[in-house]
Amino acid sequence: MTTPTTPTRTARRAGLAAPAAAVLALLAGLLLVGAPSASAHDRLVGSDPEAGAVLDAAPSQVVLTFSAEVQEIGTVLALQDAGGDVVAEAQTAVEGRDVVLPVTTDLASGEYRVVYRVTSSDGHPISGEVPFSVDTADAAVPTTEPAPAPTEPGSASPTEEATPSATPTPTQSGATVEETEQTAAGGDVPWLPVVLVVAAALVAGAVVAAVLSRRRRPGR
């Protein structure tokens, strides 16, 4: 801390120190409330095919990548067609952070989803789905054409970040990727945007309060 500060600035800081500290404490508290269940166990961080991808050829396998090595126990991976029928589910292999499902059938054009339940290194069961589609009829279409909501799987979708809601909803309706972490209701609620919005509101409130109190003081 060698940055020189003028006496005036120091004084102003001292006046704001108490409300700022309160805001920081609140912010820290909120982060602690939101964080543990999300950070305690592994989550899906990517997939091949990506969520929402439109493929011009049937994939020979589906690979899900998690944030850390997952356990073999209880691994269930199934590829379902639009009707919900299972197209491939056998011989799922866990390879470190990757879980691989070979696809031996030549998939016809249509909508598909991979549903999964894997076991986090801490024993926590995690489940969710990754949708994609195959369109072999029009091979000219680029394989990674923007999907309705091409998001990083497992993270909050842009739609939700754009319209942050103060009341978290347990399901991400409309989102392409639905990762249902098996926690209590709201396990995959995008906490960060909510926390940021609440924190911003608190900061604003604290500043207003500080300013008001400073204005009142001379009048006393």
């Binding site: 209880g74 199934a78 069961p125 489940s127 098996q182 209590a184």
Partner: protein, 405 residues
Amino acid sequence: MTSRDRLGRRAFLSGGAAAAGGAVAALGGRAAWASTRPEEQPPAPDAVGQVRTTFRGERQPGVATPPPSAAAFVALDLAGGVDRVALRRLMAVWTDDVERLMDGRPGLTDTEPELAAVPAALTVTVGYGPGVFTAAGLEDQRPTWLAPLPSFTHDRLEETWSGGDLLLQVCADDEVAVSHAVRLLVKEARAYTRVRWVQRGFRRAPGTTAPGTTMRNLMGQVDGTTNLVPGRDDALVWHGEDAPAWLAGGTSVVVRRIAMHLDTWDELDPHARDVVMGRRQSDGSPLTGTREHDEPDLEATDDLGLPVIDVAAHVRRARTDDPAERFLRRAYNYDEAPPPGQLSDSGLLFVTYQADPVRQLVPVQRRLDEADRLNQWTTAVGSAVFAVPGGARPGEVLGERLFGA
């Protein structure tokens, strides 16, 4: 009589009524297990302490009788030179002691006879390890299943909690009664044996839960919902007349010490705990049902098409289509002083009774060992198998059909 006296008297009476109510509940709970229901009458304030369990009969007590709140399992090793005759002598002493203690009377050599006056449903059950048959020169009488269970991948067995030549299982609704009985019986046997291990356990105290309530273990789970019912499932528990004479009316007991890793279990949120079990911790109901005793639906799928009861959920792995792969569970919690650096040393004394542990228990243990989510938080650290000889019929010494009259 002053009003103050009357108040005191009333308070005393209502307190007595509450205690009596507890005793009724305890007796009611027992009736769910025992075939004979005691006469309904206003019990005395010390009713719990005065409950007596019958010692003599075709079967030893402590198996089909309802589990009292406190238990001690004592394994003893035979001293060198103890043979069939010495074993017969020890059995005669124990038979007399146990009969007296269960009846609320002191043993013949009891130095604290006062402690015997509160039997509190005391039962003593005697078991024989493989070493008894070797010492007695009766190897030909040793059942093939009387051997240590095969080793399982997740086991971390310690000598301290495993094996043993003789077992004393002492249960009562009062810890003083248990301590006193253990002390007397071990003292009487000191010329023949030395103590190998002692494992103490507990369940809810008498009168604290409604009759018929399934026990909870220290992980919080309802433990033992699907259990054999004494009376209905006797063929799976007891040996009949086709068994060797000493084993008719007998069974086997397996005592496994299952350590619980509560510090990591604490990190699991309630929903994940329920997925691990396939049952809800709140009320023991399967994830496909609403009440504890609802039959789990292993075929049910959720909106992703995944099994509602996980493929590696404890309840799924423990179940079997083979009706013979079942056994009577009578578990006790344990909670000992932790070693340095540990918060707790808690777990379950997983105690099972079955006619044939190899046929009935081992296949289930093997399935759980292969893939049970619960294995991440539990580890077997002790294991012992004993044969439980038939009961002492009137005039008989326990085990005399094995060691000779």
